[in-house]
């Protein structure tokens, strides 16, 4: 009896903690929703009013009218999808070489690759910009997309770790049957790595979807803008339309939210795989 009540107590404690944790995480979302439905006054009332009265649904209308919402959505989707394809193909391809092929200096190059993760993006911003300008790529999507087709250290690392867990026998059997390395990568490793690829895809999605600085510096034509640039347009030197901005933010967040809930499993696997949060 004593044991059972102890277990019960244990469970209550665990659930209470979990509830508290989820409350902490859901609160900003609820606040976002609440603010997005408020009028122009009382946004910062103390104590805060959680349920606006009346609901200002017109904030959503204002949000999608303030900038070409549909156009920016399409632009963002296009860039994001291209980047996802690019990073899945290139990173896994390079990772295969690091995980399965034996070549001189492989481990040294792997360390060099990892070292590039230590370069803050601010350092490379201007040189990269000048490079892309010389290529005539400013004000196109190329500077945003093409780098993803050349792999990135973190994703390569992630894929390599996963490839190392795939039994050698598989690739050796393929080799005996006369399979080339590229074919082995494409026909054996890729299909077996779906969870890792999904993780990689999700990481890329959130990164690119939420990227602000890249589009900010490379795009000049307002018609080519992404949603993140649109969101920032509500902020002015003197004052911000917070309610409308929150309404727009919620719309922009929706795909990420849906993606998270549908692929939650992979998010968590990604964390356990790498020990790093996406």
């Amino acid at each position: 009896m004593a044991l059972r009540s102890n277990a019960l107590f244990h469970r209550i404690a665990v659930y209470a903690l979990l509830l508290l944790g989820s409350a902490a995480f859901i609160l900003p979302l609820v606040w976002l929703l609440s603010t997005s439905l408020k009028g122009d006054t009382g946004l910062f009332d103390i104590p805060p009013k959680w349920i606006p009265d009346p609901f200002h649904w017109d904030n959503y209308k204002k949000a999608v009218q303030s900038f070409p919402f549909l156009r920016y959505t399409w632009n963002t989707v296009f860039i994001t999808v291209m980047c996802m394809i690019g990073s899945m193909l290139s990173s896994s391809f390079v990772a295969y070489a690091f995980a399965r092929l034996r070549w001189p200096g492989r481990d040294v190059w792997f360390v060099v690759l990892l070292a590039t993760m230590m370069l803050p993006s601010q350092v490379t911003m201007i040189p990269l910009f000048i490079l892309f300008k010389e290529l005539g790529w400013v004000n196109t999507y190329l500077p945003l997309i093409v780098p993803f087709f050349f792999g990135s250290a973190f994703y390569i690392f992630l894929m390599r770790q996963f490839f190392m867990t795939i039994p050698k026998e598989l690739s050796e059997a393929a080799k005996i049957d006369g399979c080339t390395e590229v074919y082995t990568w494409w026909k054996i490793f890729m299909p077996l790595s779906k969870p890792a690829l999904a993780t990689l895809g999700i990481f890329t999605f959130t990164l690119v979807w939420n990227d602000f600085q890249g589009p900010l510096i490379y795009l000049n034509d307002p018609n080519k803008f992404t949603l993140m640039l649109g969101l920032r347009s509500f902020q002015q030197q003197y004052g911000t339309r917070w309610n409308v901005m929150m309404a727009a933010s919620l719309l922009v967040m929706l795909p990420t939210l849906v993606l998270f809930f549908s692929f939650q499993r992979y998010f968590i696997e990604g964390v356990t795989l790498t020990g790093v949060k996406g």
């Binding site: 103390i46 549909l70 201007i126 347009s233 004052g239 339309r241």
Partner: protein, 456 residues
């Protein structure tokens, strides 16, 4: 199976987002259309285009970057550019608005790589830096050719646009700090609502009378606090005859006049105490607007833009505007935006960009800018238009331009003033010693100048 469900969910979310935008199709079209009048550069060149004086009537496309991404100024900018295009059919303007906070990243990256816009809104305080490197073009020849009268613009702004005696661009708009005081609270406290404090002593006495403590030893109303609003140490020091740089470009941060100003600020702030002040601040920050508007501060030094905010948020507020109380000489601080011709090595585009610059700084347009934003436009003919000057508060704001100063541009330390804010905060919030902290700032400035000297 499971995957199919996920795809369906994804699709549904995409369609939901799309559906929401669909109902706004019309205005979307408007927004996109007006934001890029560049759609048909060919069309504008056709027909009986009146030859545009400067550019010889040849079709030319220029880009103009600014910070107006929302609200009245965005609409006005769209309108002005449409009007400009009607007047100069051969000039097509591709505009790009990026909000104030991100604009500087965008502009500096682009200009560093030599791919900036033809016409850029930029920071008036740092013109000299860009003029020196040749990043922007002098506008002297255009000004002379077109007979633009620089006397129409606030002298302090024209002065800031000059580098080695030549103009580099035109001033667009500026701001100025003034004292706002709540007339009703003056009356309630037995003060004359038509006699705002003129000097530091009066400011202190009035503040004492206007401050209201509640029974919990907390502040209901602050009479005056140097930590609220937009009063910076350098502004107050200037009113005390202080200065942070001498004529030879040497720092004088710990000059006695500056130390006095900081000591005076500390004296005022210490009356409230850290505990009451932080409680007050956390309340005031939650407001989302100035404590002066909320009736939580009886007097405040703030930017002229607060006047615009009062008009929209609290039109019934009974208040007055006065010069910043001084100790030795009246002074105020201004910053501002100018328009600059970015050196893109294309004389035709530069000439067209000048036309747009001239248009945007003309009195008629500047009147419209003031009406839309309430900003202190650089063209005095517009800022001092009789219909605006009827308003005594506005007149008071404009008059401060006679005594207002800009931050000195110091090549070795372009943002020297931002180093003073932490010093001021350390003294006001953490009770540090003014003399000691200004001595420290002086040493830092001397080092910066010395290090810079080595690189030259």
């Amino acid at each position: 199976m499971n995957n199919r469900n996920k795809m369906a969910l994804l699709l549904a979310s995409a369609m939901l987002t799309a559906g929401l935008t669909a109902c706004s199709g019309n205005s979307n079209g408007n927004g996109a259309g007006s934001s890029s009048p560049s759609g048909s550069p060919g069309a504008s060149a056709e027909g009986s285009a009146p030859a545009s004086d400067a550019t010889g009537g040849e079709p030319v496309t220029i880009s103009y970057w600014h910070i107006y991404t929302d609200g009245a100024m965005k609409d006005l900018t769209d309108q002005l550019l449409a009007d400009f295009h009607a007047k100069h059919p051969n000039i097509t303007v591709q505009q790009l608005g990026v909000n104030f906070f991100d604009y500087w990243t965008k502009l500096s990256t682009a200009m560093a790589a030599g791919s900036g816009p033809d016409l850029a809104l930029n920071d008036t305080s740092t013109v000299a830096a860009r003029a020196k490197t040749g990043a922007i073009l002098s506008t002297d020849e255009y000004i002379q050719r077109d007979g633009v009268n620089l006397d129409d613009y606030f002298p302090v702004l024209v002065d800031r646009m000059k580098y080695q005696g030549k103009m580099y661009g035109m001033p667009n708009d500026t701001d100025v700090r003034v004292l706002y005081y709540n007339k009703k609270m003056f009356k309630d406290a037995g003060l004359d609502p038509n006699k705002p404090p003129v000097n530091w002593d009066e400011l202190e006495q009035y503040a004492d009378k206007l401050t209201k403590w509640n029974d919990k030893k907390m502040l209901d109303v602050i009479g005056f606090s140097p930590a609220l609003g937009n009063l910076h140490l350098w502004t107050l020091a200037w009113t005390n005859g202080g200065d942070f740089w001498d004529d030879e470009g040497k720092p004088t941060f710990n000059k006695p006049e500056n130390v006095e100003a900081l000591q005076w600020e500390k004296k005022i702030q210490d009356k409230y105490g850290v505990k009451a002040m932080s409680a007050f601040n956390s309340q005031a920050n939650a407001l989302g607007f100035s404590p002066f508007i909320a009736g939580k501060a009886a007097m405040i030094v703030d930017v002229n833009n607060l006047y615009q905010e009062i008009k929209t948020r609290a039109p019934d507020l009974d208040f007055g505007v006065a010069p910043i109380p001084y100790s030795k000489t009246p002074a105020s601080w201004s910053a501002g935006f100018d328009l600059e011709l970015v050196n893109n090595k294309d004389p035709k585009r530069a000439a067209a960009a000048w036309e747009l610059m001239k248009y945007l700084t003309s009195p008629e347009v500047q009147v419209k800018i003031h009406e839309a934003s309430g900003s202190l436009v650089s063209n005095m003919k517009a800022a001092q238009d009789p219909k605006f000057m009827e308003d005594p508060n506005w007149k008071m704001i404009v008059d401060q331009m006679k005594v207002s100063r800009f931050i000195e541009y110091v090549e070795a330390m372009p943002s020297w003033h931002s180093k003073l804010d932490p010093v001021e905060q350390a003294v006001l919030n953490s009770g540090k010693d003014p003399q000691q902290f200004l001595d420290g700032a002086q040493k830092d400035a001397e080092n910066a100048v010395a290090n810079f000297g080595k690189t030259q």
